[in-house]
């Protein structure tokens, strides 16, 4: 099947701004699904609220567009009732780690077989450019006209500490790499977290004078490096990309099945 066969073409052109990285992430994700040869009927995508969350409307899978920050809670319910389905949960940075921060760490702790994708553009785009817990200090936002002072979460470290058994990072610029990582994340049995750095030229880019989408992609290219690379060893200020955690650990639905069996034996 071609990538377009996984789209609900009647909703295109999509609502994302020109040059929005979320479109590229959708593109990379569909390629991963296509290359894995997954059937549309075996995939459920749940999403919350935000620009990123609109992604569930564009894919021709089973989809749930739910409430803000609760995409993982709904996904947990779907997965427990139908463990054979592949659950994809794309979320924005605010949706995943501010409003849904608690759901995020607890889903990771349970190691439930869900693929969480954090589409991190470091801003709330849909509501007009407020800063998020991933913005970091020294950036301009509607809610921080004199620059932010908050430290950001490191999604990779947070997910690792919370217990996710697959943790990776890529960027919209590295679209091919994103697809390869997403393939591994979807195939992984357990809670997978893939942070993909995205660009919001409309709000983040304009307020912080980062230029257009092309200039923002250049930043993703120049400010990141693969883990284990010479570039990263020489400049630790670069943001590392790649797979940080990939471990086999007891998965929640399998453990739950064992408890059901145990209870029925009594």
């Amino acid at each position: 099947m071609a990538v377009k066969d996984y789209l609900r073409e009647r909703f295109f052109p999509h609502m994302w701004c020109p040059g929005c990285g979320h479109g590229t992430i959708l593109n990379s994700l569909l390629r991963a699904v296509e290359e894995l040869g997954l059937k549309k009927n075996d995939i459920v995508m749940t999403s919350g609220i935000g620009c990123s969350a609109r992604i569930s409307g564009y894919v021709d899978f089973h989809s749930l567009h739910t409430i803000h920050g609760r995409a993982l809670a709904f996904a947990t319910g779907v997965k427990l009732s139908r463990p054979n389905l592949n659950i994809l949960v794309p979320m924005g940075d605010g949706d995943a780690l501010a409003i849904g921060g608690n759901h995020f760490i607890h889903a990771a702790r349970r190691n439930i077989d869900i693929t969480a994708i954090v589409m991190n553009n470091r801003i709330y785009g849909m509501t007009g450019g407020q800063f998020s817990p991933l913005s970091g200090p020294g950036i301009k936002a509607t809610t921080a006209p004199y620059l932010t002072i908050d430290s950001p979460f490191d999604v990779v470290k947070l997910a690792t500490a919370a217990g996710a058994s697959f943790v990776a990072r890529s960027t919209a610029y590295h679209a091919r790499e994103s697809t390869e990582i997403l393939k591994k994340a979807i195939a992984h049995k357990g809670f997978s977290v893939v942070e993909i750095l995205s660009q919001c030229p409309t709000h983040y880019g304009r307020k912080n004078k980062e230029g257009d989408a092309v200039a923002m992609l250049e930043v993703q290219k120049n400010n990141t490096a693969k883990i284990g690379s010479k570039a990263l060893a020489e400049n630790p200020n670069l943001i590392p990309r790649g797979i940080f955690v990939q471990e086999e650990r007891p998965e929640y639905c399998s453990e739950y099945d064992k408890i059901i069996q145990h209870a029925q034996q009594r």
Binding site: P13, G19, G23, D212
Partner: protein, 72 residues
């Protein structure tokens, strides 16, 4: 064997003219026209790397290869 191009299938209704494909094409095959839509102005230089196709945020470009090639 080098892959051979048949055409750049560009969906002008979906293209929003962000210029990502134009900027990152290694062979400068693409340009934006006066309506800010992408066109393949030098298709003969295309090496079918598909970087435009995989990075397009609007899913508006598809590289169609010559018959007999694998058009994934």
């Amino acid at each position: 064997m080098a892959r051979k191009l048949k055409e750049h299938q560009i969906n002008r209704d979906w293209c929003k003219g962000c210029g990502i494909c134009v900027a990152f094409c290694p062979k400068q095959v693409l340009e934006l026209d006066k309506h800010d839509k992408v066109v393949a102005v030098r298709p003969e230089d295309c090496i079918c790397c598909k970087l435009c196709e995989i990075r397009c945020p609007d899913l508006a470009i598809e590289i169609i290869l010559d018959e007999g090639e694998d058009n994934d």
